[in-house]
């Protein structure tokens, strides 16, 4: 089961991060975080962008799991899924910097 957990780790983190960003966006819009200005933009925008960048960095740190792999198969699959998770986090989270949050 550990093998399954390790080869899924990057994608599990993406699923968590994607849900977190979606939840933060919905909650922030509902509770008026978009109306609070902070350093030239809104508080909601800062929260979302910071969370997104942290999530991308967290996804990349999982690359060290490849060092713990016990076989070539595990190493290759872990590498591919961690990179997939990080890349997907980068792209699916990018609307936090590019689009309007609550409109």
């Amino acid at each position: 089961m550990r093998l399954l957990a390790r080869i899924s780790a990057g994608l599990i983190l993406w699923a968590f991060g994607f849900s977190l960003l979606y939840a933060l966006q919905g909650t922030g819009c509902a509770y008026g975080w978009e109306d609070a200005s902070l350093f030239g933009t809104t508080m909601l925008r800062w929260i979302l962008v910071a969370t997104w960048l942290l999530l991308v960095a967290a996804c990349l740190t999982l690359l060290r799991l490849t060092r713990a792999a016990s076989s070539d198969f595990e190493r290759r699959v872990t590498l591919a899924t961690v990179l997939a998770g990080a890349g997907t986090m980068l792209i699916t989270g990018s609307p936090v910097a590019l689009t309007s949050a609550c409109a």
């Binding site: 089961m1 550990r2 093998l3 399954l4 080869i7 899924s8 994608l11 599990i12 993406w14 699923a15 994607f18 960003l21 979606y22 939840a23 966006q25 919905g26 909650t27 819009c29 509902a30 979302l48 076989s71 070539d72 198969f73 595990e74 290759r76 699959v77 591919a80 899924t81 997939a84 998770g85 997907t88 792209i91 699916t92 989270g93 990018s94 609307p95 936090v96 590019l98 689009t99 309007s100 949050a101 609550c102 409109a103």
Partner: protein, 830 residues
Amino acid sequence: MNALRRHRILNTIWGAPKGWRGTVVSVNHSDIGKRFVIAAFGFFAIGGVLAMLIRAQLATPGSAFVGPDIYNQLFTMHGSIMMFLFAIPMFEGLALYMLPKMLGSRDMAFPRLSAYGWWCYLFGGTILIASMVFGVAPDGGWFMYTPLSSKAYTPGINADVWLLGITFVEISAISAAIEITVSVLKLRAPGMRLDRMPLFAWYLLITALMMIVAFPPLILGSILLEVERAFDWPFFDPARGGSPLLWQHLFWLFGHPEVYIIFLPAAGVISTVLPVLARTRMLGYGWIVAALLSLAFLSFGLWVHHMFTTGIPHMALGFFSAASALVALPTAVQVFAWIGTLWNGRPELKLPMLYLLGFFVVFVIGGMTGVMLAMVPFDLQAHDTHFVVAHLHYVLIGGFVFPMLAGAYYWLPHFTGRTRDELLGKTTFWLIFVGFNVTFFMMHLTGLLGMRRRVHIYPEEAGWTLLNLVSSVGSFVMAFGFALFAIDVALHVHYARRRRRNPWTAGTLEWAMPVPTPAYNIASLPTVISREPLADAPALASALSRGEGHLGEPRRGWRETMAVDTTTGAIDHIVVLPGNTHLPIVTAAATGCFFLCLLAGRYWLSLLPVAGVVVLGLRWAWLLDWRRDIGPLPIGRGEVAPIHREAAGAPGWWGSVFLLVADGTALASLLFGYAFLWVIAPNWPPPERIEGGLAAGLVAAAAGSAGTLLARRCLADGAAGLMEAASRMAVAAAAAQLVTILALMALGVTAQPVPQAHAYAACSWALLAYALLHATIAMLCMGFGRARIAAGHVSPRRTLDLRVARLFSDYSTATLAIVLVCLLAPSVMS
């Protein structure tokens, strides 16, 4: 023991009686798998006839063939049948039949659960089909959007038939998912590491895990909508704090992964059949596994693309649009792996390959239109038009039906032991391929010209007449193709010549057994050292028949197979499987009575079949009868292993774990709904919130925690051989759960507003009901554990019953804590 004598003894142990009695009591995976496949094809035929009626209606403008009421039932039932009664059960049937054979096992992990799932599917499907005969079939579209499906707009039982019938059928899907997951993880041939499994097993493992997580949101949504319709709890009523969008979220949380749940097993068929017919090995095994995992996860991040036109903010659109486009990448990895394999090999244009080529054409077109629809501006134009109908048929028929037809022709010799010429099959292919493209390519055009889906008539001046007529003609050509396929299979079964066991010279283990396969699959279990054991050792089949593998000597009339370590494939223990029994059909009948009582509005009466199901469930578990320690037993080749009752990672424990994962997903979906309504829905905050209840909540929390601690202590005492103490702890744990139940009931009655008042109150009561149900289950588990101790089924070696009881107790307490926080937080914080 010679091979013939071994065959006779094993056949006696694993076989079922002849005639109706055998049909009713058999739990054998080959029998159940074949029944699923045949029934699914029968439902496919019914769904196909409905499609013909739809196309007859749309062939000409202003058609008076059927009126809108009947037409609504036609398209709703067509979609529901094809998704729930054909696609999922068809792959379940193939998985049940084929998996143990490919994994070098003698059966699935829970044969009685397979049979129970089969009967639930048959009874549930029959209810749905019968509703058409009585003119009360569902008519709100296969995704049953509220408020159309709410009581105000669908006052009859049409929507109830869908909600209850589909939920009944989904029991079989959850059963199969747990069955497949545990079987792949544990019931493999010795030596078959995870990275030595056939790719087909990887596809099915990932599909089954997806089902465990994807189906609970739909089941939960169906329960909530049924409760709203029956008792007026306003989960989806915006006037009282509900939201129709909650239904869409819950439905598509299931509905989009469902597309991949249907596609992945078919892709597994491709990855199995294609390299054999290309006379090479599959390229990129590890990359394909990584692509599968990526696809599985990403498929859960797309559901909102079905809701792009509901007015959600741009940022949320961006999240889901990006994920929808990205999902094409892991799919492309697989497609390129298949193309590379073809390039690398020496392909033979035999009949299954013809269907695979058809798959490539159709599926790639469907994938491309999917990427188009993932783009929000395009989707805003094409949403709910025939363009979407064309896209989904290209994906589903291209991605499922064509590969399954390839699989059907590839494995028919395995089912029947016969092989015949391919002429009729090739004619079938061309009729289906041409008919399909003529039918559905036209729909892209009618959709782009503005034709909405689900309209029963259209005006002549719209300019869609010729395209629709061509589309209808194409659909009838396709129908002839499927009819010819049925005739071809019938001819094959009855008149084809008997042939050798491995006509394709394939390397996977399903071809290492006699065809058609005996009830026990293989006389002895191989030791696997590569991904294609038969390719590496062509004489393997004969050696296994001679009993030179594991478990070659039948003993005590037991149905034995091997369980292995999940990752390494090292021998773990012997699994002794239960034999033929009436319990699955009787339990499914009791379950069906429950659903029928609800359908008839006899809610109090429905408690009777519920009690019946509980009693039958306890009987089910009780019959696993082990009153003495056995110790390690010889398994052949000089090795020994314990039986599963005396091993740590028995299939029953793992099955319980995955059942609780599904259960936890249902709770997570309910919590999502609660939070979604709180944040998004109109008419919040609620006029009336929970008042007090803190004391009752604290009593419930304390009693639940005590119940868990006592359950753990019970297990520790049982493992230490202190049976008297374990027995007392089991009684105390059950009593603690009873206190939890009473405290929760007091909390609800004294502090919560009535559930009809507002969606907040309805959600609170739903959470409370969830916690109550699980405290009751934990209490029953501990009571059962006490009875098992008293009857001598538990010893320091045999603690499986207590470990499972502890698992349910732990889960109950963990979810109780979550529910109490959600219920009491508004009161404490205000």
